[in-house]
């Protein structure tokens, strides 16, 4: 049912794109939905935003599909996470698109992770450690304070590339930052009960979220980043949770929730599916709703809401 809805949405979207008459709007290709949503907030009608991946796809594991090459070919600005998140597919898009301006190092190649302080930067990298990123944890979008930082940098980049609309971008940025600051205050007050809570995660996808909320990660289900948890490893996690209990176990919408559900069944720890990015569930329609929903779901698991 959900698949059908999603399919229908995609078909509708492609018709909308096809029906849109050609105009001078800046064509933005966002690697992940959060940056597509941010570009939409910051530039509105001044841009045509296309998003390369959905919230139900693992951003580490995307194929360099022909449709993505075609979209890279037509892009005026690329907005990606960077920090090696897209290392398995973006280089192919850049190489095959034949477009000079979006190559790495050019102004039209925007890497959001360059503008935030990264967590978990490894001192040692080796593939035996699993899917580690030398540049640090790339899932920066789970902290709304990072969104504010990236918004500043992205506005500057939009102004640089599309100088004629610089004033409009500045105005939209002011408006967005004001609304975002209000939202931050609201989320902060609302999420106060979460501060200091111990949680388990399926993948190390939420380090920035925990940093923001003051949540403590006491266990990770994946034995190593990107490695599926085995039953024997889950048993170990279960044993460790007996010593240091967690209030909930979190996983992202694109992940297979079975390891988390196993833990819910065997340890009585509620499994919480977080949207992870815009479009991760029905409620997370934009960046504001994404964090509303994230905080709501965690609070619901704490049993402190309704």
């Amino acid at each position: 049912m959900k698949t059908h809805k999603f399919f229908a949405a995609c078909v509708t979207m492609s018709f909308v794109v096809l029906a849109t008459p050609a105009h001078a709007a800046l064509r933005v290709l966002a690697c992940e939905p959060e940056w597509g949503a941010l570009a939409q907030e910051l530039a509105g009608p001044l841009v045509d935003v296309s998003v390369a991946t959905t919230a139900l796809q693992d951003p580490h594991q995307i194929q360099a599909r022909p449709s993505l090459i075609a979209r890279a070919r037509n892009a005026d600005l690329l907005v990606c996470t960077g920090a090696e998140l897209e290392v398995g597919w973006l280089p192919v898009l850049l190489q095959q698109s034949g477009i000079a301006k979006i190559q790495a190092g050019q102004p039209a190649h925007f890497a959001a992770a360059d503008f935030v302080h990264k967590l978990e930067v490894p001192t040692q990298v080796d593939r035996s450690l699993g899917d580690v990123h030398a540049a640090g944890n790339p899932h920066i979008q789970t902290d709304p304070r990072n969104i504010a930082l990236v918004a500043h940098a992205l506005t500057a980049r939009l102004q640089q590339i599309d100088g004629a609309n610089a004033a409009a971008y500045a105005q939209r940025a002011t408006d967005f930052q004001q609304r975002w600051q209000q939202a931050l205050t609201r989320w902060h007050a609302k999420a106060a009960p979460l501060r200091g809570t111990a949680v388990a995660s399926q993948h190390k996808a939420f380090s920035y979220l925990y940093d923001w909320l003051g949540v403590k990660e006491v266990a990770v289900l994946e034995p190593k980043p990107g490695v599926e948890p085995s039953v024997s490893h889950l048993q170990q996690v279960l044993a460790s949770l007996k010593v240091q209990p967690a209030r909930m176990v979190l996983y992202a919408a694109y992940q297979d929730g079975r390891p988390s559900e196993w833990l819910q069944k065997n340890a009585g720890v509620p499994a919480v599916k977080l949207p992870f990015t815009v479009g991760g569930d029905d409620a997370s329609k934009d960046l504001f709703a994404l964090f509303d929903d994230t905080v709501d779901r965690m609070l619901a698991a704490m049993g402190s809401v309704k």
Partner: protein
């Protein structure tokens, strides 16, 4: 920076403090409200400090200087460089400074190896069991050069090709890449070594050097990314396994919603179906058109048509007769090859991590015309020769649980009718070489793969070869990005 930080903290702490003093006996609820207010202020200031810090870094990057981190003035000043009219921003908001193009923040400066190319090494090995001796392998109706990659390879344990790959940007306009194959017999061959443009723009990319030709679907992919351990029979019989050549390539991607890619190549034509000669001009030319797109989030596809023209002069070919005697021939003339290829991939919601499915097929037709000296050591016929052969394969790969995949491939060749002065082994008399293959593979990570493959190979008339292969293929070093 520190100045602003301390000012911010003082403000954050003193404001609620003053409020608290103004009230005589605060209730528990009021205390909680105050605590929330402090927390909110702290939050707000943290965010604003981070934003200022980001602007400082952006401004520094734009100005090309690294100011001391405590310089609060640098943060407050908009960048003079950049050119965007930031001054037009409303005064109420901080006008964002224009940052310079993104620069990686984690480069270890000053090290001699900072500019080293990305290096990766593919390691592979096979344990094989075949019911027929690989030395007697033959595709009935096709004569191939002595060094063509046909057949299942060696029996027993053998080291596969170890492929060393290096790539890096040369300068702002070029990148370079080399794939060096270290063969199990201790020989070294250059599989690819080319330079490629990065800044032509308008969808154009040019390449020069030795490279895998962009005809068909599998040919341009490195063999270690193939889903089966060997090339399809059609590739073995009509392209000599996998075709690389020295030359130049120009590819253009159209500015359309639908993926449309046109490629043109010319080159030396030294490898089968061409052959080397002392001519000045190009011995090989090819054209390829590929189109592709998505259907919804779950389906994607690509289809194409390619044409290759190659010249051969005094091309040595061998075949085996029914008593396993070698028949040597020499061909001079032209080969025109047409390839149709299509691939369709499915993954639920486009998330291929758990399950996915891939269906791919290619059809080839090869027309050879010229002169042939047949069985030069025996009957020694000579005359005009023409042959039009065709062949196809169709394969399906299904990942049914994470890390495990199964696959099946079916293929068939038609050597076609031969026009020649006398009877030859090139005339297959209506026999159609065929082969069916099954495989299962396991990938502990995206860098390692173990594969078990069984093939029932009836390429040679009158012989059925049951081929078992157990393979490993692993890559270490730089994370390679693979094409569709």
């Amino acid at each position: 920076m520190r100045l602003i930080a301390s000012a911010g903290w003082m403000l954050a702490l003193s404001l609620p403090g003053a409020l608290a003093q103004a009230q005589a006996a605060p209730s528990a609820a009021e205390l909680a409200a105050l605590r929330a207010e402090i927390a909110a202020l702290r939050e707000s200031y943290e965010t604003r400090l981070q934003a200022l810090d980001a602007r400082l870094r952006a401004a520094e990057a734009a100005a090309g200087v690294r100011a001391p981190a405590s310089s609060a003035q640098a943060a407050a000043m908009p960048s003079p460089a950049g050119g965007a009219p930031t001054g037009t921003a409303p005064a109420a908001t901080p006008a964002p400074a224009v940052p310079a193009p993104a620069t990686p923040t984690t480069v270890a400066a000053g090290q001699a190896n900072t500019f080293n190319p990305a290096i990766s090494l593919i390691l592979s090995g096979t344990a094989a069991h075949t019911s027929q001796d690989p030395a007697t392998y033959q595709i009935t109706g096709f004569a191939l050069p002595p060094d063509a990659e046909a057949g299942p390879g060696a029996r027993s344990f053998s080291l596969g090709e170890s492929e060393l790959r290096l790539s890096a940007n040369v300068d702002p306009w070029w990148r370079g890449e080399a794939s060096i194959a270290l063969e199990a017999d201790n020989s070294v061959s250059i599989e690819e070594a080319f330079v490629q443009t990065t800044a032509l723009g308008n969808g154009f990319t040019a390449k020069a050097g030795r490279y895998l030709l962009g005809v068909g679907y599998l040919n341009s992919q490195h063999a270690h990314t193939w889903d089966f351990g060997d090339a399809p029979l059609a590739y073995q019989a009509m392209l000599g396994g996998q075709l690389n050549d020295d030359g130049v390539q120009l590819v253009w991607v159209a500015p359309t919603e639908l993926f449309v890619e046109l490629g043109a190549e010319v080159g030396r034509g030294q490898n089968f179906p061409g052959s080397d000669s002392s001519r000045n001009g190009a011995g090989r030319a090819s054209l390829a058109l590929h189109v592709g797109g998505d259907v919804g989030a779950s389906h994607s596809w690509r289809a194409g048509i390619s044409y290759l023209h190659a010249k051969a002069s005094d091309q040595a070919l061998t075949q085996l007769d029914t008593d396993d005697n070698t028949i040597d021939s020499v061909f001079s003339g032209r080969t025109d090859l047409t390839v149709l290829d299509a691939v369709w991939k499915w993954a639920p919601d486009g998330n291929a991590t758990r399950t996915n499915f891939k269906l791919q097929g290619e059809w080839m037709r090869s027309s050879r015309r010229g002169t042939l000296a047949y069985d030069t050591a025996g009957v020694n016929l000579f005359g005009d020769y023409s042959q039009a052969s065709s062949g196809w394969y169709l394969q399906a790969i299904y990942q049914f649980v994470p890390r495990w995949r199964v696959g099946a491939r079916s293929e068939r060749l038609d050597p076609g009718a031969v026009t020649y002065v006398g009877p030859t082994l090139l005339d297959a008399d209506g026999y159609h070489p065929r082969k069916n293959t099954l495989m299962v593979d396991f990938s502990a990570s995206e860098f390692s793969r173990l594969r078990l493959q069984y093939a029932r190979d009836q390429a040679r008339q009158g012989f059925t070869d049951n081929q078992w292969q157990l393979q490993y293929q692993m890559s270490l070093g730089a994370h390679g990005a693979h094409g569709f």
